[in-house]
Symmetry: C3
Subunit: 259 residues, 3 copies
Amino acid sequence: MTDLLLIDKADDIATVTLNRPQKMNALSKALWAAVGDAMQALSDDEDVRCVVLRGAGDRAFSPGADITEFESERANFEQARVYGGIMHRTMGAIRDCRHPTIAMIKGVCVGGGLELACMCDLRICGESSRFGVPINRIGVIMAYPEIEALIDLVGRATALEILLEGRVFGAAEAKEKGLVTRVVPDAQVEEDVYASARRIADGAPHSNRLHKKFARRLLDPTPLSAEEFSEGFASANFEDYQEGYRAFVEKRKPDFKGR
Amino acid sequence: MTDLLLIDKADDIATVTLNRPQKMNALSKALWAAVGDAMQALSDDEDVRCVVLRGAGDRAFSPGADITEFESERANFEQARVYGGIMHRTMGAIRDCRHPTIAMIKGVCVGGGLELACMCDLRICGESSRFGVPINRIGVIMAYPEIEALIDLVGRATALEILLEGRVFGAAEAKEKGLVTRVVPDAQVEEDVYASARRIADGAPHSNRLHKKFARRLLDPTPLSAEEFSEGFASANFEDYQEGYRAFVEKRKPDFKGR
Amino acid sequence: MTDLLLIDKADDIATVTLNRPQKMNALSKALWAAVGDAMQALSDDEDVRCVVLRGAGDRAFSPGADITEFESERANFEQARVYGGIMHRTMGAIRDCRHPTIAMIKGVCVGGGLELACMCDLRICGESSRFGVPINRIGVIMAYPEIEALIDLVGRATALEILLEGRVFGAAEAKEKGLVTRVVPDAQVEEDVYASARRIADGAPHSNRLHKKFARRLLDPTPLSAEEFSEGFASANFEDYQEGYRAFVEKRKPDFKGR
């Protein structure tokens, strides 16, 4: 099972690779679960500053769920509920990762593959990559947590357009729809992704973590407690904040320690 | 009154036509009501898979409410409340239609005409079509359900820009603002709309209906019940789901029965 | 302190100018407070129909908070809480201004400067203007009301991209991200802003005020009361409404009195 997913760390940037290149990195039930386990472990890793999620090879990020498994793993209500639970835990684990995340997208990024990518903070893709959620062609539907995530990213009207038409479309249309952060030439995808990861990892860690946390918290309509509200000011006591504004005034590069 | 609105069915696609071409399809109180009645009836029709809403002729979808009626039908608070109730029921009937809906837009699509179009799931328009909500030029305002629908589609800032400036603008700007799904050459509007309707109607009916239902339900901040949450998995027991994934594995076209 | 901020009125359009050109209009604590005071006073001014907010000179709207003050004014939790309270009151005063507001943006519009601009109803900028919120470079974070406002404008994913990458980018990217309403040639910024202000000021005042009020109210998930819901119809009793639809039918320009 270890071969299904690769995890590499280089300095403070981790890379998670969906590793079923012979299946274009289709998501088997085991692979869905493995991605969730990996993201939870990386979230707890204090040395990580940014996580890149990608598919093995250049042909595909992922075409989504491995449909050849459905006859044995997702053929009725009870199996669909279990399968959905695994998917949703994994999607939540990406969304809730304390560190910023980037989906590196080459080639096919469709269905559950696109859903995975949508849980990352940024999505950087090559010009020839392809997108869509053509699940009404096979009678599948997105459960509530999935359609909620898609609506959060592209709005209700665009989410419904994608689901009702079930088209597969190119990178330019994906950008226009708000599905991807940016489109770069195919040959520059890795370079651009790791330049962005480097830039993010060089920011003050508490700034990135609190911005992610606050943006996620605001998905919940429950009013903020006084303690939650104050968290934005508490960071003024952090060493990295003191270092940050002083370095700015002294016109030097700050040296953030993560505390 | 029947002449006000035309309803045609061709196979599983229904077309609803605002039919006051001599008035550019301006929405009289009677026409507002007739659209709502038609959409409710079509929603209940089990043979329909997609509904197209259009204006008669090529000059206009609709310029909005028929203002020449206001002196007799909307001249004070009580009349405005009744008039608004009819508008809002019709807007809700389009939004809540179980079948996917497409607004086919040629020419003028302004004010209440644009509001009608915005309740459809997709909006496909010709290059020379024109948009806007210039109601502050005549002292009219959008009631809460109307401005809520506009904000849902284009966001709060763009909704206010449209309402505060009261400009009428072209198709490219409407696309950029998120008001329309796509812009096509004028001569191809019908072809593109019915190709999209065909594509949508060929999807599994329960996928389209549940995606619409779920996207609408998420407008309500009330937490989902366990039963609602499970509805996404219950469809795994549907015949069309079984047919769908098996046809995919067997590399053949699925034959959906709507059950 | 009066020199910090200039307030001019020409007919029914007011202009508020951040006036620290030697500091590129950086927002000192005193300037944050002065903007809030000015916007509250203008909101109460019955003769005003539109407010333009700008920076002195052509080099900058504002680069944000004056960081050279942080050592004395924002060096710990308690100071950050007080400083944040002033910022948030000012941001609220712009958002809640009864009259439509336009940010006129030339040059640098970054950090707290961009946050100020984002509270206006429209943002019109020159082609060479620059945007971004590179606060993770100095360990600062956006408190909840700030990140909430940014998400309301550009969505959660784009807000996080801006905050996590901390890049400074140009006007075209700002438009694409939904940060600005429109981009015009540098030499036409003033002309375009005042043409828009004139257009807005010529609309029925109650239409503009109620549209702003309704759009703001909908940020609050609390259900509308019956009285609130009816406010959209009550305006049918206003003189300006009667004047508006009659002028339209009589094909003449309406003469709005603001009542």
